[in-house]
Every structure is written in structure tokens, then in C-alpha cells.
């Protein structure tokens, strides 16, 4: 086997692939062959690097040079300059701002400096389709140690010691959950991986599955051994085709090496793993609905108890953990529970992956120690707000979470602190909003999502979220009353307290937190019939300033409903009764003569 002096890692995460990284990879190979360097330089496709904003990402080792926004036509220059002549291609390096110098190396990027990548340890570093690269990074060592040197009780006590809690959002201690399932007596048990990630803007589970599928398989096998299960399911939504493809390849490889299947590593432990593709209903992320869906039933939750640990899939004791939770198991076994527990806060140990999106400069995936402040995540890792506008709020935990404000910026992130502030850790979606965002509109957006995703089984969720949404629609169109506000709050509390499952119990969180922290915005919509952020189309007007108008007629020409009139002599005027508030006139006016009020 030839030894390659240099490895070129091309990101093959969904984000970078959408940016054309597959073509970049192909062109790199072509150009290397042209130069006769294909025996010296290896091109590897990896999973997500997390810095999706700058994709397609390409890293050249051994130097660790980090190239950003690489296009297929850049391949020739990288090969000629960097790989043939040893000169870094400066123009493709990351530059935090015009004033700052460009950053050459992967580990010098501020984006990575505050991260501690445990669940994401291999993402962007190995080829997810090659089990040997995973093994080179201590892959399956933990499973080997567990099967040959540890009893199931040893494993559970190690996980308990680590303080690991469910990363899907609930935050239930993982070790305890495993113990409940282990104590359940049955001839058959299941372990399940919840990969039904559905929060708008969240993609940490997808990135782990795409970038390091074996870490999930290994974690599940270790869990199965500890709990006495011999069969498992990965419930992954069909909208994640690449994750499913890589999972299937990973399972086949692990089976061929005897690391999954019958008599793993020559022991009498057997573990068979299946993939179940979900159709994408948000409620199927709820564990009882998820199990119903695997069984072929309609995905609807049922009351607990009985808990899955006693009566789960097909009536057998089952354990469900989220992708990120499983991915943390291998390092905990290898480095010990104490090591993991040394990171984080008193009750929230270890690290958490967040999907950073919205009005922040560096959108992407970050893994940070618990206890880090939201300010550090947004301003140090995220690079601050786009166009240096004013930070307004952060929606944490997706549609089930809540909005946090400027006063929470220095809040250390933990399960407890977020719950106390009215939000939840959730699966780790973090949407950043600036001063142009209307908080009533945000609450409406998330409620539209949960209302549409409500399965309809219980009345509070089915009817309550609908009525809440109608109220919010009234308020944002300027028809709300102050009584609406009281009723909205009352309904929200009622839905939260009386819904059957987590979906309904958390759906009102965006409304409750915005009511708590941004009540003045709601009141402005109702009393003054004004949207302070000028985002709600029902409450704004587009107007022509006659003194600025040069009577060019571009606005009238582009108006899709022909409601602007005027000519070379008379300034243009917008007919408010027919205006659909699309904003086209404001965009096309070369003289900034159109304003929004």
C-alpha cells in the first residue's frame, strides 16, 4: 500500500455537497493525476466540518491548511500551487474580516478554538465510508473493552459516573435509563436510536450520522450489551438520504468485520441492527410515537407509564437514546466517566452540540462544554451578528424551546438554567435573531410548525394550538385586542399542562417566552397597530417620499399588482388599498425614495 505524503480532505456533508463539493473532489483527482501526483496525494471525502457557512471546505494535510468556499475551478490552482509547489493559496483562506489577517490552519480558527469536539470527534476528519479510518481513531476499542473486560453493571456504572444526560432534549440521565431497562426481565429487548431530527434549523444528528456513522453503531452495541438487548433500530427520517446511505454502508462493513451481527468479536454477544426510515412526522421524535411507527402503526404517542424500559417496542423492554447521546458512549468508556464528568456544570456534564443558524456570521455546527455562555457561542464562535446589527433574541431548543434575550447572554448553558429561563436545551437548535426580527412573528412561525405537526390525538394540543395560532394571526394583522393577549396566555398554560406528549407540552414555549420578555411588542401590535420591527406585512405601509422620487417609474413597472401610479410630471403614489406589501418597489428603487412604515 502506498504511503501518501499528503491527504486532501474534501467535506462531503450535505451543506458542502449542496455547494458543489462532489465536483470539487472529482476535479482535484483529475488535476492530481494530470500532474502525476496521484500516487503521493490522497483525496478523501469526509463528513461535516461544522463551518457550513464557508463551504465547500477543503483541508490539506499534513499542514492542516484550511481552504474555504472552494469551487471546482479552484482545483487546478490548489494542485499546482499548494501540492506541486508548496505555496498556500492565500485567496482561499478564511479571513474573519477585512482588517484581520487570513487564517491558515484548521486549529487556529476562532470558530474551533472554544470547541471541545467529543461527539463530533471524527466529523470532518475521517472518511465515513471507511471503517478502518474509524478504527484508526480508537473505533470499536470501547466495544472490545466492554465485551471482553466489563460486566453490564460495570458499563452502566461508568455511564452513570459520567453524568451523561439525554441529548435529544429531555435530559434524562442516560445511565439510569439504561439501568431501568436492564432490570426489566424479558426474553427480548431492543435498543433504539432516535434520529428523527425535525426541528427547523437543527442538523447535529444528521451531521454525526453522515460524518461518523460508526460512532452511533458502536454506542448502540455497547448499550445493548449493558441492557441485555440483541436487536436494535435506527429510526431516521427519509429526508436524510445521505445519512441513511452512509449508515447502511457502515452497518454492512461492521457486519463483515464481525463487529455487528452474531457472536461479536468471538463472544456470545449478538446484536442485529436495522434502519427504519420515517416519513418525517415531527411527533415521531416522541419515543412512544416513534415505536408505534416502527411497528407499522400510525405515529401517535401513548400515555406513560408503562415506560419503554418496561413495555416498549412490540411490548418488550426497550431503550431509546438520541444520536448524539450514543455518539458520546465510546469516549466515556475509553476515557472513563470521571473524565467526562470533569467537563460542564454541576448537573449538566460534558459537551453539547448546537446548530447555530439565523442572523449570525458563522452559521454551522459547534460542540461546546456545558456551562459556556450564550454570548460566547454567538460572538466568539459565531463571529457576531450579520452586518453588526443589534442582537435581539436567541431561540434555543427549536419549536419546543423559548426565546432568550440580551439579559440572558451571560447565562451559562445547562439543562437547569435554560428551563428556569423558560426555554429548553432541546436537541440543540440555536436560531439567532437581530433587531429586524418581530418576536410576535417568530412565535407565530414556530406555532404554525407545531400546530401543523400536532398528531391530533389529544384535545389540548389539537384544538389549543389551533386557537393560539388564530389569535396570533389576528394580532399580527392588526386585529387583536388586549383580551386576546390574556386568552393567549391562558391557553398556552393550559396546552402546556394538559397535553399528552412532549410536543404539546412544549409547543407553547415560544409564545410564553416572547410574552414574558417581549410583551411590549405584542402590545404595540394591538394598541398602536404597529409592528416595531416592521416585519408583519399586515401592519406596515410602503410609501413614496415625493421629495426623493425622481419619477423614473421603475417601481410602477415592477409592481406585480400595478398599484403604483405617476408619470414624468407627477411623483409616484402607492394605492394602499391594493398594495400586497411584497416590498418589490423598495428593492428596485435606485434613489431610496420608498420607505416602510
Amino acid at each position: 500500500m502506498p504511503t501518501y505524503r499528503s491527504h486532501v480532505l474534501v467535506c462531503g456533508g450535505t451543506g458542502c455537497i449542496a455547494g458543489g463539493s462532489a465536483l470539487v473532489q472529482a476535479r482535484m483527482k483529475e488535476e492530481l493525476a494530470k500532474k502525476g501526483l496521484d500516487k503521493e496525494v490522497l483525496v478523501v471525502q469526509t463528513g461535516c466540518h461544522g463551518m457550513c457557512e464557508l463551504g465547500p471546505i477543503l483541508v490539506v494535510y499534513p499542514e492542516g491548511t484550511f481552504y474555504t468556499r472552494v469551487q471546482p475551478e479552484d482545483a487546478a490552482e490548489i494542485v499546482e500551487e499548494h501540492l506541486y509547489k508548496g505555496r498556500v493559496v492565500e485567496r482561499l483562506l478564511y479571513r474573519p474580516s477585512e482588517k484581520l489577517e487570513s487564517v491558515k490552519h484548521y486549529n487556529e480558527l476562532p470558530f474551533y478554538a472554544k470547541q471541545n469536539r467529543i461527539a463530533l470527534r471524527n466529523c470532518g476528519y475521517i472518511n465515513p465510508d471507511n471503517i478502518e479510518e474509524y478504527i484508526a481513531r480508537d473505533g470499536y476499542q470501547a466495544m472490545g473493552k466492554v465485551l471482553l473486560e466489563m460486566t453490564p453493571d460495570d458499563v452502566i456504572s461508568e455511564i452513570k459516573k459520567s453524568g451523561l444526560r439525554g441529548r435529544g432534549g429531555g435530559g434524562f440521565p442516560t445511565g439510569m435509563k439504561w439501568e431501568f431497562c436492564k432490570k426489566s426481565v424479558s426474553d427480548k429487548k431492543y435498543t433504539i436510536c432516535n434520529a428523527d431530527e425535525g426541528d427547523p434549523g437543527a442538523f447535529m444528528d444528521r451531521s454525526i450520522l453522515e460524518g461518523d456513522p460508526h460512532s452511533v453503531l458502536e454506542g448502540m452495541a455497547i448499550g445493548a450489551y449493558a441492557m441485555g438487548a440483541d436487536e436494535g433500530y435506527i429510526y431516521c427520517r427519509a429526508e436524510y438520504p445521505l445519512a441513511i446511505k452512509r449508515l447502511k454502508a457502515a452497518i454492512a462493513q461492521a457486519e463483515s468485520y464481525g463487529l455487528l451481527g452474531r457472536n461479536i468479536m468471538g463472544t456470545n454477544f449478538s446484536f442485529e441492527l436495522h434502519i427504519k426510515e420515517g416519513a418525517g412526522a415531527f411527533v415521531c421524535g416522541e419515543e412512544t410515537a416513534l415505536m408505534a411507527s416502527i411497528e407499522g402503526e400510525r405515529g401517535m404517542p401513548r400515555p406513560r407509564p408503562p415506560f419503554p424500559a418496561n413495555k416498549g417496542l412490540w411490548g418488550k423492554p426497550s431503550n431509546i437514546n438520541n444520536v448524539e447521546t450514543w455518539a458520546n458512549v465510546n469516549p466515556i468508556i475509553l476515557k472513563g466517566g470521571d473524565w467526562y464528568a470533569s467537563m460542564g456544570t454541576e448537573k449538566s456534564k460534558g459537551t453539547k452540540v448546537f446548530a447555530l443558524t439565523g442572523k449570525v456570521k458563522n452559521t454551522g455546527l459547534v460542540e461546546v462544554p456545558m456551562g459556556i455562555t450564550i454570548r460566547e457561542i454567538i460572538f466568539d464562535l459565531g463571529g457576531g451578528i450579520i452586518d453588526d446589527k443589534k442582537f435581539k433574541a436567541a431561540q434555543i431548543g427549536g419549536p419546543s424551546g423559548g426565546c432568550l434575550t440580551e439579559e440572558h447572554l451571560d447565562l451559562p448553558v445547562s439543562y437547569e438554567s435554560l428551563t428556569a429561563a423558560g426555554a429548553i436545551m432541546g436537541s440543540g437548535g440555536l436560531v439567532i435573531m437581530d433587531e429586524d426580527t418581530c418576536m410576535v412573528d417568530v412565535a407565530k412561525f414556530f406555532l404554525e410548525f407545531t400546530q401543523a405537526e400536532s398528531c391530533g390525538k389529544c384535545v389540548p394540543c389539537r384544538e389549543g394550538t389551533k386557537q393560539m395560532l388564530l389569535t396570533l394571526q389576528r394580532i399580527t394583522s392588526g386585529k387583536g385586542t388586549m383580551e386576546d393577549l390574556d386568552k393567549l396566555e391562558e391557553l398556552a398554560v393550559m396546552v402546556k399542562e394538559s397535553s399528552l406528549c412532549g410536543l404539546g407540552q412544549t409547543a407553547p414555549n415560544p409564545v410564553l417566552t416572547t410574552l414574558r420578555y417581549f410583551r411590549d411588542e405584542y402590545e404595540a401590535h394591538i394598541k398602536d397597530k404597529k409592528c416595531p420591527a416592521k416585519a408583519c406585512s399586515g401592519l406596515i405601509q410602503y410609501l413614496v417620499s415625493p421629495d426623493l422620487c425622481r419619477k423614473c417609474g421603475l417601481c410602477a413597472k415592477n409592481c406585480p399588482v400595478n398599484c403604483i401610479s405617476g408619470d414624468r410630471q407627477t411623483p409616484y403614489v402607492i394605492d394602499q388599498s391594493r398594495c400586497i406589501k411584497c416590498g418589490t418597489c423598495l428593492e428596485v428603487c435606485p434613489f431610496k425614495a420608498i420607505r416602510k412604515e
Binding site: P62, E132, R137, L148
Partner: protein
């Protein structure tokens, strides 16, 4: 191949670690000047000789990097060796014939090849 023991796993890990060794840090580095001047003086052949010598000797934890012109064109091909914790040693006018000597003496035995030495940077 089926893995039936920790020993099997260790073997695969060892060979797979070699495959990916270009991506790890903290190794001995060989840096070759690959500017136009270096290439004209025969640096490509020197680099190929280095790769061949390393694989012949089974030296896995050595990274081979290229660099651009550093201004000492008359001394090209330039070849630098940095062993972890030691200063950067620069050799000049390196030929293909010098490569086995530099690898054996310097990389393996830690002795600087004096007759090709032109610089030492701490």
C-alpha cells in the same frame, strides 16, 4: 476478515493508523522547497526519493511537506528536517543520492549530516 479478539482490532488499528498518519500532528517533519527554483534544481526528484526511502524503511510518523521559495535559490534543492523538540535544520543542494543518508543519519539516528548543512533555526 472477522475480528475475533482485541488483538485483531489492534492490528487493523495499526495499519489503518499508518494510512491516515498524514493527518496526525507532533511528528518529524521534512519540508522541501518546491518553488520554481527548487523544482528547476531537481526538488521533485528529491521529494520522490524521500517518499521512497521512508516507505522502504517503514517510517510512518514522518510528514513530508512542500514549501515555496524562501529566497536562497542558489542553494536549492533545500530540504529541512524538524524533529519534535529540536531546531529546524536546513540542508542545501540536496541530491537524490543524499536522501538515504539524511534519512538514516538524521531521522533515524539523530545525527546531523554536516556536509550538506547550511542552516539551523531555533
Amino acid at each position: 476478515m472477522k475480528i475475533t479478539s482485541l488483538e485483531d482490532l489492534r492490528k487493523i488499528k495499526a495499519s489503518a493508523t499508518d494510512q491516515t498518519s498524514a493527518r496526525s500532528e507532533g511528528k518529524t517533519r521534512i519540508i522541501i522547497g518546491l518553488g520554481t527554483c527548487g523544482i528547476a534544481a531537481g526538488a521533485r526528484a528529491v521529494m520522490e526519493a524521500v517518499l521512497e526511502e521512508l516507505s522502504k524503511r517503514g517510517l510512518k510518523d514522518v510528514s513530508v511537506e512542500g514549501t515555496g521559495c524562501i529566497g536562497m535559490c542558489q542553494q536549492e534543492p533545500l530540504l529541512d528536517v524538524i524533529r519534535p523538540g529540536e531546531p529546524r535544520i536546513t540542508y542545501g543542494r540536496v541530491t537524490v543520492q543524499d536522501v538515504p543518508r539524511i534519512v538514516t543519519e538524521h531521522l533515524v539516528n539523530g545525527r546531523i549530516v554536516e556536509d550538506r548543512l547550511i542552516g539551523r533555526a531555533d
